[in-house]
């Protein structure tokens, strides 16, 4: 709800990673990575653990040196700039507050390093704590804080130095589910207030989707897709991306223009024009299930073979044909019996495809 459009749409990107590569003994951690982040933008770097996203973060922060490529921030090449002079602040998992300092001293740490006097430091730290709703916490020790409070202090500590770029490493993953939403709101509100550019590194697709304006998806050291959360959900560039984002329905098909024929001769109508072998996918929550048939295209007769209630959804497994099943996630108010005959409607706009090959095809870009 606090998501804002980037402040300045200048031609030059704010943060620019060009051909960034890093090798570690035995592995290529990051392979020729190109990425542009606009000023004021929130971008999530998403991928499974070990995909190279943390290495990328460390290279941007300056604690790991890239083997090749350049990092540019605000027009300045950072490769040879030490971390403390990059104007890039870092919020690590669990906040990582200095245990030997009070909360106030933690928040004022960056100012102290810059030689700001004691009185001014304290005043600014208290003001900053107010912004993260922790007034009166300045004298406490980090060990007395809850996980969410520690995370908020860490945010205050980073924002007090007015960084050009804020890096967040899995900011929500150590928090409880209900605390997550609160933190997420706070981060987005602070971002809106300060306009700081944010790069969030996470392995959790839900966290990436709710926090960012764009997602950069990484696998095995390579960037696979950079898009808005909506597009990554609806139009993944290949099956790996689709599965990582929670895709479960995949069928082989033969495309003849907008007519796609499945293996059992069922034909689906789509919005996309293609010819040849393809892989068809549709998100489970996009499928609609009806008890009575309709004379509408893409409506297939099916049998319910599994029905699982998750609280917010009812997850149905539907048999369309002997070797063709489909996952449909519908509202929990709709209930079905096992073995019941139903109709599954696959909206043409929701159908997506990848050509049958290992090389990802060019992605439609916004």
């Amino acid at each position: 709800m606090y998501k804002t459009v980037p402040h300045s749409q200048s031609l030059m990107p704010h943060l620019h990673l060009q051909d960034l590569t890093k090798y570690f003994p035995g592995v290529t951690a990051v392979q020729s990575l190109w990425l542009e982040v606009q000023a004021g933008e929130i971008l999530a770097l998403l991928g499974p653990s070990g995909c190279g996203k943390s290495t990328t973060l460390q290279m941007i922060a300056g604690v790991v040196q890239p083997d090749s490529g350049t990092i540019t921030l605000d027009g300045q090449i950072l490769n040879r700039v030490p971390p403390e002079r990059r104007d890039i602040a870092l919020v690590l998992q669990r906040g990582l507050l200095f245990p030997h300092l009070t909360v106030g001293e933690n928040v004022a740490f960056g100012l102290k390093m810059r030689g700001v006097g004691q009185a001014e430091r304290e005043e600014k730290a208290i003001a900053m704590l107010l912004q993260v709703q922790l007034e009166g916490f300045a004298q406490r020790k980090p060990s007395e804080l809850s996980g969410g409070q520690a995370q908020r202090v860490a945010l205050a500590r980073s924002l007090i130095i007015h960084p050009k770029l804020l890096l967040l490493d899995e900011p929500l993953s150590a928090l409880d589910a209900n605390l997550r939403e609160e933190m997420q709101d706070l981060i987005l509100r602070l971002q809106a207030q300060t306009g700081v550019t944010m790069l969030i590194v996470t392995h959790d697709q839900a966290e990436a989707v709710v926090m960012s304006q764009r997602i950069a998806l990484m696998f095995d050291g390579c960037l696979r897709q950079v898009d808005t959360p909506e597009q990554i959900y609806q139009q993944p560039c290949d099956e790996t991306v689709a599965r990582f984002m929670g895709g479960v329905n995949f069928f082989a098909a033969e495309a003849h223009g907008r007519q796609w024929t499945l293996s059992n001769d069922l034909t689906l109508l789509s919005e996309y024009d293609h010819h040849g072998s393809i892989q068809v996918t549709i998100r489970p929550e996009q499928i609609q299930v009806f008890i009575e048939g309709r004379s509408q295209a893409n409506t297939l007769p099916a049998t319910v073979i599994a029905n699982r209630f998750t609280g917010t959804q009812r997850r149905l497994t539907l048999a369309i044909a002997p070797e063709l099943t489909l996952q449909a996630w519908v509202t929990p108010t709709q209930d079905f019996q096992i073995g019941q005959s139903v109709w599954a409607y696959l909206p043409p706009t929701a159908l997506w495809y990848f050509p049958h090959s290992t090389v990802p095809h060019p992605v439609q870009v916004s």
Binding site: E84, L96, F98, G110, M113, S158, L167
Partner: protein, 263 residues
């Protein structure tokens, strides 16, 4: 209850040798079979301060040697402990084992070799020579303790500090050193106690000219003045005990001591 009784028994036994020491230091002519001396005196304690007993001289030399040795081994042990505790590099285990040799292997042969050189360098019988050989056992202890402390230290605190604008020097003084302070205290305690306790190394290299408190005590023990032996012995306990009391909080830090349990 049995548990408590056993602990009390252990403590009593551990304290037992101090009992005759304390009595002897105030006793005048305590002959067998008297359980308690007939006459008490302060003469052994007053003898301590007379220059003839060389106790004050020994105390000062011991203190100087132990303090300088502790500081030097800290300066050397900190980088080594960090390398072993934080970094991965080929030959790490072998180097760790090598650093251990001076506290496992008898120093007698080495001392005779070192003495050969120190005589030619004019360092035999000097404080500097004694401090140098005291580094042999103190560096390994210091390194072991600090290795364990660094192994349990989250290096990302330094990343965090750098990103907040701290230079490498500021990181060291504002983050690293305060965070490993308990380990430094434990390492320094061990280094101080080892140097303070050291007899053989001082004996070989000191050539009788460096006369530390253990040298005084060793000489007295070969004589027969039990009263003076007791007074000097009690005096030798005080600095180490004070240091132990000061460091008692840091000794509760298990990772520091764990280093000696994982050599």
């Amino acid at each position: 209850m049995l548990r408590k009784g056993l602990i009390v028994l252990v403590i009593v036994v551990l304290f037992l040798p101090f009992l005759p020491l304390v009595i002897w230091s105030f006793a005048q002519g305590w002959f067998f079979p008297q359980l308690i001396p007939d006459q008490w005196t302060l003469q052994h304690w007053s003898q301590l301060v007379s220059p003839a007993s060389r106790v004050i001289e020994g105390l000062l030399q011991s203190l100087a040697i132990a303090l300088i040795t502790t500081i030097l081994s800290l300066l050397v042990g900190l980088p080594a402990g960090r390398a072993i505790g934080v970094m991965e590099f080929p030959g790490k285990e072998a180097l760790k084992l090598f650093l251990l040799t001076p506290i496992i292997v008898s120093p007698l042969a080495t001392l005779m070799g070192i003495q050969f050189v120190l005589i030619r360098l004019g360092l035999n019988g000097t404080l500097l020579g004694v401090i140098l050989v005291h580094l042999m056992p103190t560096i390994p202890y210091m390194t072991l303790v600090l290795t364990s402390v660094f192994a349990n230290y989250d290096i990302r605190y330094e990343t965090q500090a750098r990103s907040l604008g701290a230079s490498p020097v500021q990181v060291l003084s504002q983050v690293t050193l305060p965070l490993i302070a308990p380990g430094i205290v434990v390492g320094a305690l061990f280094a101080f106690l080892i140097s303070w306790n050291e007899f053989l190394l001082t004996f070989f290299v000191g050539a009788g000219r460096v006369f530390t408190l253990p040298m005084v005590l060793f000489t007295l023990l070969q004589g027969g003045n039990n009263g003076l032996v007791a007074a000097v012995a009690i005096t030798s306990v005080v600095p180490g005990l004070l240091f132990l009391l000061l460091a008692s909080k840091a000794l509760g830090n298990d990772t520091a001591l764990g280093g000696l349990g994982n050599v």
